[in-house]
Symmetry: C2
Subunit: 224 residues, 2 copies
């Protein structure tokens, strides 16, 4: 049970600790036991395990790809209070306010800015593309999380390649049958950009949220 999805206020999590934590721990114990041996270092495994926990799907352990600096760079950015730029409202709403407040990370959905629609029409591109193009100067050192729109991920990759934009971490997990696999394959082949990608068709906003929660938990542990 991914408690996180329910969270509506920063007070919620502590109130759920007793019942919820024990279910989460039991779930993690089951996942550890069924997974058995795996190739992931401990910090990456905490990410993979939370994705499996959120999806009920061990396939993610085979399809996820980490840039070698991905977890360290993502955790460092979150610890510095970096903003999270997401392509869907579901990601922003799914993130636990309780965890976000540890370091004051803000979740931003640029496609909801009214200017994104205007820019999209002016430039003849999708709103997702216009949205990330419009905030390109804010992406340096930020965490980018794409759960839905391959076009948004492709635009972020273009900004990195052509405009020298440097996010601390790109989480690329758009789901789907058109361009999703291609966009994620491009991401995982970028050797100088910390990234976490799920190859193939699977992914989605819940997967992006699970990865971010795992990184926030790792950041939280640094601080304890």
């Amino acid at each position: 049970m991914a408690l996180n999805e329910l969270m509506g206020s920063t007070e919620d999590r502590p109130g759920l600790v007793e019942a919820g934590r024990s279910i989460e721990m039991e779930s993690f114990r089951i996942i550890d036991a069924e997974m058995g041996e795996h190739p992931f270092p401990e910090d990456q495994w905490q990410v993979v395990r939370r994705v499996i926990h959120t999806t009920g799907d061990f396939d993610y352990a085979r399809q996820i790809r980490f840039h070698p600096r991905a977890v360290a760079s993502g955790v460092a950015a979150l610890t510095r209070g970096a903003s999270i730029f997401a392509d869907t409202r579901m990601i922003a709403v799914g993130l636990s306010p309780w965890r976000l407040q540890w370091y004051g990370n803000e979740a931003v959905v640029p496609a909801l800015h009214p200017e994104s629609r205007i820019r999209a029409e002016e430039q003849g591109v999708t709103r997702s593309v216009a949205a990330f193009r419009g905030v390109s100067d804010q992406l340096n050192g930020a965490v980018v999380a794409i759960g839905n729109a391959p076009t948004a991920l492709l635009e972020v990759l273009r900004l990195i390649r052509e405009d020298g934009v440097r996010p601390a971490l790109v989480i690329g997990v758009p789901v789907g049958f058109v361009q999703a696999a291609e966009s994620k394959d491009q991401l995982q082949r970028m050797t100088d950009q910390p990234a976490i990608a799920v190859l193939g068709r699977k992914g989605g906003s819940s997967v992006a949220v699970a990865i971010l929660h795992a990184l926030l938990e790792l950041a939280g542990n640094v601080n304890q």
Copy 2:
């Protein structure tokens, strides 16, 4: 690409029709082609296909279970303007306002009501349980969508069995490793309750949203 997850206002969908619809149609064409023969009647297949589209995972075609009256009862309820009672904010936010306005369906997350917390403490149950118990008199004829909390689904099943509550449709797709499979198995064994369930561990808020969007599209087509 599940366009639905991005939706922020009722204006959004028409603006995305040109680019988005063609991607959606192409995705559906790929899913139809790869799926080949299947046992679903046409209306159930529209639900299954949208779930596959949202998850990138054909496994759902093997794990989904429909009560014989599920689609008809759900579509009729939505067409009547029935409310949708969800266990997560992600479901409520993921639902496209554009589709909800066709029949004026309201998405309600009872766990966000402040009384849910108070009742949970008084009754010594989880907030999800207290939340659905607290709205039990509003569930008759409504659509219930559980994407996250097996305890919420188990409580809805208890309300149906013991208190004679009669939702028009129960969508039971909680994800996870503790109680999720058991709760969904109980749901699909109820012979007199229209229900859609995903057996096993998989599911989640995105799956619940996909099922609801498919039903809303079916309801929309009735009206055209």
